[in-house]
Structures are given as structure tokens and as C-alpha cells.
Symmetry: C2
Subunit: 470 residues, 2 copies
């Protein structure tokens, strides 16, 4: 067990050094024997470290010479620009485009690069089925009764336990279950805003959040966001006097996939407390880190209950289950009331099943596998993009999560690309969906949650060729 832990830790550390350029292309790594001595691990464990790194295409062995850092082609591709949204709230909702893209949901004839969830092949389907059956047996009256107001106890208890890993230290009574993370966010916005209020969001931003804000009559301020460090806090601070509420996705935000530093998280929490602006934190992707540790949340630094921490199992376990939750801090009473009058209860069976699954060790095993697959996919995608996409293409450097953000040269309109791609049975998410302003027309989001195959590589090649023809 201890060896397993060490092996993972060492492999991840070396992987990070390679990806961040501390170890450079072509550099020689220490031998199996030296690594074993250095870390006090067995020769076998040491060998496993190298095999793991090789499986991730990060190193390659040369006969009689040892292991060397592989060329990471995608590091040659530049980063997308920091976004430069207008400082004035805008409302140009790309409804028609969003409708078209969303209507592809569930169409299995298409390659759905446009979705933002892991595909079924990456989920523990058999184990989940068993939990559902068990839940119909363990619940009183087979789960036909309404749940208590806060929602399923096992689920809340497990989320509370897991919050220790990121410094949340939540209790089960700090949590309210919901029908998924978007439902949590909707409840928070309904509780804390009125039409005409101004909300600050990252830019680019998940389209559902933009649409939700607009539907509630909110003014949307999109804040300049760097693809690796996240929201520009200095720009953000300037805007605070105009802002009533703020919604951020600091961990592996879709589409960019960055992870805000602890320092910035803390600074944001302090700033918002000072201005008495509630922070809704969407942490749906928090468990999908590519690094060695589960990142902290803004909620980790919340001492006054001003952060409403929202998440779900939709990106890690089962999108179609609709199991989410919120730790609403000092706004708990309002959220409970709104949950009750908007939907009374959640689906008792489903939430019991998820709660039970989280109590087994299977969940962590599953997450480990899923993270590894996503990280490998990222590299496969990146290498394919280097090879097949037009000159001048820029790509994000996700540190976790499910999506990759592509910035093409300005002349490539991704809404046009969407139309061409669809004819070839490929669906993408054009950049324009991620803003209420005329931004990101030359960008797109790709889902990394599809299983990597030769066919998928071919689809990326096809997509690259179509982009070159525009």
C-alpha cells in the first residue's frame, strides 16, 4: 500500500516536471537503481515508475542508455490569449447556436467532442447498477417517500467526509442535496439575486451559466481570464463596486481547465467578504485533477459563510443521475426553502445509491482511473492537434477536468467549422457559445472524456483538415 502510494507520487512528480519544462526534451533520467535508492523504494517499484511515465508518452527508453524525456510537441503550440471582454455588461445570447449544439446531445451517430461529460465507457456502470438495486431495498417503502429537507443523509455524510481532503471541514448539516450542480447554482442565484443585479463570471464561461444568469434578468460582467492562472484579479477588483454576486469555477473550469492558485483563491474570498458580495463556487471538476493532490477550493478559505460551494457527480460518476449538492454557508435557510418549493425532494433512490457508492473504496479507485485516462487523453489530443490542426493554432494547458480550449487563427470561424464538421458526423462546441459578447469566434471547446481510439484520432485529423479549408 505504502509502495503503491510512493510509486504514484514519484511518477506524478516527474510527470509534472516534464510538463512544466523543468525537465527538458531529450534530458536523461536517473537509472532504475538510482531512483530506487533515492526514494527508498524497491527496484520493482522503481521500474513501475518508468513504465507508468512511458505509458503516458512522457519518456522513452533508448536501448543500453536508459530513459529520456520525450519531445512534448504540444508545448510548442502557444497558449490562447487572455480574454478581453468588454467592461460593459452585454446580453447577446447565442441562443440559436446553443440550441443547435445541444440538440446533438445523446445522438450516438455523432462523435460528440461538444459534450462536457465523461463517456459511459469510463464509468463504473456495473457497480452503480448494483447500488441502485440495493437502494430500492434499503430505503423505507422502496424510496417512494419524500426525502427529508436537507436530502439523503449518506450522500451528505460522504461529501462532508471528502471535504477534509480539500480543507472544507464540512459537516453533514452544512450540505443540501440537489438535482445536480446546475440546480445548485440556480437555487443560489434565485436566493441571492433580483433582476437588474450584476453578476461577475469568468470569460470564456460555461454556456448554461450564461443562459441561467440572463434568464434571471441579471447583468453579466465577463471578467478577463488567463488560460493558466484564471481570472485577472486586478481587473476583477476594479469591477467590485458594480458587482452584486460572483460565480467562479476555480478548479478546472470548463472550457479552459486551469486551476486558480491557493493564493488567488484566498485573495478572492477576502475581497468578496470585504465588499459583502456572495461567491457561488462551482467545484464540479475539483476531483478531476491531473496533479498529485486534490486542489483546495475558495470554500477552504471561507471563514464567514460567504461562499456557496456547489458540486455534483455529473462529471465524475453519472451525468444522468442528477445528484448534486451545495454547502450554502450563511445562506442555508434561503436555499432550503427554495429547494422545497421548487422541487420538494430529490430522487430518493438515486441519491441513496450514490451515497452508498461513495462509502465504498470503489469511488476513489474509479476516480484514479478516470483522472489517468483524462490526462492521457489530453496528451493524445495535444499531439494530434500539433500534427493535424492549422498553423497558428493555440491550445489551453488543462491541469484537470474534461475539456480542451482551442484558439485558431482569427480567420477561422468555428461556427462555420461546426456546420462542416456536423456534415462529417462530428459535433464541436464553437467558442461563441461561451460568451454573451462577440468573442471567441475563432475558438472551440473539445471534450477529452471520450475513449481514445484510432477512430477518434482520425476524427481529430478530419476536424483539422476541415479547419484548414475554411
Amino acid at each position: 500500500m505504502k509502495e503503491d502510494f510512493l510509486y504514484n507520487r514519484i511518477a506524478q512528480n516527474i510527470a509534472n516536471k516534464i510538463k512544466t519544462g523543468v525537465l527538458k526534451t531529450g534530458e536523461k533520467l536517473p537509472s532504475v537503481r538510482i531512483l530506487s535508492k533515492e526514494h527508498g523504494i524497491s527496484i520493482n517499484t522503481s521500474k513501475k515508475v518508468f513504465l507508468e511515465l512511458e505509458s503516458q508518452s512522457l519518456i522513452q527508453s533508448k536501448p543500453q542508455s536508459g530513459y529520456f524525456v520525450s519531445p512534448l510537441h504540444y508545448l510548442k503550440l502557444p497558449l490562447p490569449e487572455t480574454s478581453k471582454p468588454s467592461l460593459v455588461a452585454d446580453n447577446r445570447e447565442p441562443n440559436e447556436l446553443i440550441d443547435r449544439v445541444y440538440s446533438n446531445m445523446g445522438n450516438h451517430e455523432l462523435t460528440l467532442f461538444s459534450i462536457g461529460v465523461p463517456s459511459g465507457n469510463l464509468l463504473p456502470l456495473a457497480k452503480l447498477k448494483k447500488e441502485i438495486v440495493l437502494a430500492t431495498r434499503s430505503l423505507k417503502d422502496g424510496g417512494t417517500e419524500y426525502e427529508s429537507l436537507l436530502g439523503n443523509l449518506k450522500l451528505r455524510r460522504m461529501i462532508a467526509v471528502r471535504s477534509l481532503a480539500w480543507g472544507g471541514a464540512l459537516k453533514e448539516t452544512d450540505l443540501i442535496t440537489t438535482n445536480g450542480c446546475m440546480n445548485s447554482i440556480a437555487l443560489c442565484l434565485m436566493a441571492l439575486t433580483k433582476p437588474g443585479d450584476t453578476i461577475a463570471l469568468e470569460s470564456p464561461c460555461y454556456p448554461g451559466i450564461l443562459q441561467l444568469a440572463v434568464s434571471m434578468g441579471l447583468k453579466v460582467l465577463e471578467v478577463a481570464t488567463h488560460p493558466v492562472s484564471g481570472i485577472d484579479i486586478d481587473a476583477f477588483e476594479q469591477l467590485l463596486p458594480e458587482i452584486n454576486i460572483c460565480l467562479l469555477v476555480p478548479n478546472f473550469n470548463t472550457p479552459l481547465g486551469y486551476c486558480m492558485s491557493d493564493e488567488n483563491k484566498k485573495r478572492i474570498v477576502t475581497l468578496l467578504e470585504k465588499y459583502n458580495i456572495p461567491l457561488i463556487e462551482d467545484d464540479t471538476y475539483g476531483d478531476l485533477y491531473f496533479g498529485t493532490e486534490r486542489p483546495k477550493c475558495c470554500k477552504s478559505f471561507d471563514t464567514t459563510g460567504n461562499v456557496l460551494w456547489c458540486s455534483s457527480v455529473s462529471k465524475t460518476l453519472a451525468p444522468g443521475y442528477r445528484a448534486g449538492w451545495v454547502a450554502p454557508g450563511k445562506y442555508k435557510d434561503q436555499i432550503i426553502k427554495l429547494k422545497l418549493i421548487h422541487s420538494i425532494s430529490s430522487s430518493a433512490i438515486i441519491h441513496e445509491a450514490v451515497g452508498n457508492f461513495l462509502m465504498t473504496g470503489r469511488h476513489d479507485n474509479h476516480l484514479r482511473r478516470l483522472r489517468k485516462t483524462l490526462q492521457q487523453n489530453y496528451q493524445h489530443y495535444a499531439l494530434a492537434i500539433v500534427e493535424y490542426f492549422p498553423l497558428g493554432t493555440k491550445i489551453s494547458r488543462p491541469q484537470g477536468g474534461l475539456t480542451l480550449w482551442i484558439e485558431f487563427p482569427v480567420e477561422i470561424d468555428t461556427t462555420e467549422l461546426y456546420n462542416h464538421a456536423l456534415k462529417n458526423k462530428i459535433s464541436i462546441a464553437p467558442g461563441r457559445m461561451f460568451s454573451l459578447q462577440n468573442q471567441f469566434q475563432n475558438c472551440m471547446r473539445l471534450c477529452m472524456g471520450l475513449p481514445w481510439t484510432e477512430d477518434l484520432k482520425l476524427k481529430l485529423k478530419q476536424l483539422g483538415n476541415l479547419a484548414k479549408m475554411i
Copy 2:
């Protein structure tokens, strides 16, 4: 089969004649032989008719003389008054009281007269469990995928088929699934109102709807409502110029349980069309009729798509499942969009299971049994109330549904009664919960969805005694 149908029909007809006073207490019924001849049924079927009526305590046999109409004691109790709410919108939300009553939800140490759902003993639990297991097998990826935008196809198809029974003639594409009827209503109100708008509601009205309207910043106009014929349409017509939206529960409305006549339903639909006011119709109780036929809905008379018809299985099959739907007429696009941004999808497994259950004949068998039980409970309750409740008590005459409305003499405050009852492990729903005005302080709602037992009778006796002591 044909005999079965006739037997039911004849028994129901006679029952209705007794309950409406066409056949009077003590009146002699025709003999088994004459009934058999009159309707062209066998002697055995004719006997079954009388046994059925006897089991409902509607008739009693006297040796050597035949069958006679039983004394229906509760008909001696007067009807509650037609409500007289203020013509000015009010906003005195009984939050604290509602919180206290709702916090008893799921507390199995209490006798929950306060709930508005059938208890588990009255539900087809084993069959539902089987459907859940089957759904995890039949759905792609075990139901972990998001559903399509409109929601589960089987469920929509079956609701469409069943709509033929009430003149709905809906197609599966006219329907959108939701997380229960309150969720349907919430989506409709979000789509069609803005803060400051005025909504017209029946009075007394289900507390969840009052709270929902207030939470959305709506002005609530409570309309005078007769306990048997429903909303006072002349009073209602006067108010129309002030109203932006209307929400009615024309079939077995909780708490009163009346059924609006077809004539009135039609008139309301025509009036609202004329004034261009959308009608949200809550039909959750529509399948729980005590008469011979499923009543029509306002939606049955809707020719322009102005009625948003909402319902669920929460009152008939499984409250904790969260399976509802809406046929939003011409407002379909807005509802789809709001469903998507508020919760993306429903719980795929649960909705598939309900859809499959509705496809079997079991659902109709279950409903027949449930209706019969509720109707018998109504009579048990009514007789106990005659016997145990204070002089001057008035009770509603539910024609279906799950609840009974009690009006005590004015000096009996039911919020006080609630406190005393709770000490005796009985929970009731005090009348004040059903209005935003100072109304109904001497009223309460009783749930008839608990299985009738000697113990339950004793609890009603206890409740009556407590009321007498106030």
C-alpha cells in the same frame, strides 16, 4: 370483462345517488332480481353490486326485507363557508408555521394527518422496485447518460396516451418531463412572470404554491372559492384586468377536493384566452376521482395552447421518485430552455421505470384500488368526525383526491390545536398555512392517504377531544 365493467358502473351510479342525496337515508333499494333484470346482468353480478355498496357503508341489509340506504351521518355536517379573501393582494406568509409543519415530514413516530400524499402501504412497492432494476438494464450505459431535452420518451408517450381519457389528445412531443409537479409549476412561473406581476389562485391554496409565488416576487390575489363548485367565476371575472397569470387546481384541489364542472372549466379557459392570461393547470390529483369517470381538465378545452397542464406521479405512485411533466402549449420553447438551464435532465433511471410501469396494466389496477381506498377513508373519516369532533364542525365533500378540509367553530384556533396535537404525536396542517392573509385560523386539512385502522380512528377521536378543549 363486460360484466365487471357494468358492475362497477352500476355500483358507482347508485353510490353517487346516495351521496348526493337523490336516494335518501332509509330508502329501500330494488331487489337483487329486479336490478339484474333492469340492467341485463346476472344475478351474481347484481349481488356483487350490493356487496360493494355495503362494503362502502352506503347501504345496509335488513333480514327478510332487502337493502336500505344507510344514514350518512356526515351529510348532517354543514359545508365550510365559501372563502372571502381580501380583494387586495396580501403577503403575510406563514413561514414559521409552515417550517414547523414541514419539519415533521418523514417522522414515523407521528400520525401524519398533515401530509398530502398516499402512505407507502397504498403503493405498488414491489412492482416499482422491479421496474427500477429493469430500467438500469434497458437504458444505454445504465441510465448514466443525460436524457434528451424533452425527457424520457416512454413516460411522455404514456402520458400522451392517457390524456385521451380526459380529452387531452396530447402527442409525446407536446410534453416535457420534470422533477415533479411543483418543478413543472416553478418552470412555468419562471417562464411567464416577472417580479411585480399578479397571480390569481384559489383560496384556500396549497402552501407550496403560495410560497413559490411570493419567492418570485409575485403579487398574490386569492379568489373566493366554494367548497363544492370551486372558484367563484363571477368574482374571478371582475379581477381579470388586474391579473397577469392564473394557476388553478380544478380537479380535487388540495385542501378542498372539489371538481370544477366542465362548463366552468370551459368558461375559465375562454375568459383567460380573451384577456391573454396564461393558465397554469395543476392536475396532480386528476386520476384520484371518486366518481365513475376521469374528469376533464381545462386543457381539454384549450384550443390556442394557452393552458400549461402540469402533473406528476407524486400523489398516485411514488412521491420520492420525482417524476412529473408539463404540456406547456404555445410556451414550449421557453419551458424547454428553462428546464435545461435549471437542471439539464431528470433522473433517467427513475423516469424510465415510471414510463415502463405505466405501459403495464398494473398502473390502472393500482389506481382503481387506491381510489377505492381513498373513498372508503373519506367515509371513515367523516363518520369519525361526526362522532368525535366539536359541535358546529363543518367538512368539505371531496369528490376525489387525498385531503379533507375541516372548518371548526371560529373560537377554535388550529395553530394552537397543532401544538396540542403534536404533544400527542399527531401532526395536522393548520388552515392558516393555506393563505397569505389572516384566514382559515379555525380550519385544518387532514390527509386521507393513511391506511384506515382502529388506531387511526383513535387518533381522530383524540384530535376531536383536543379541539373540544380549546
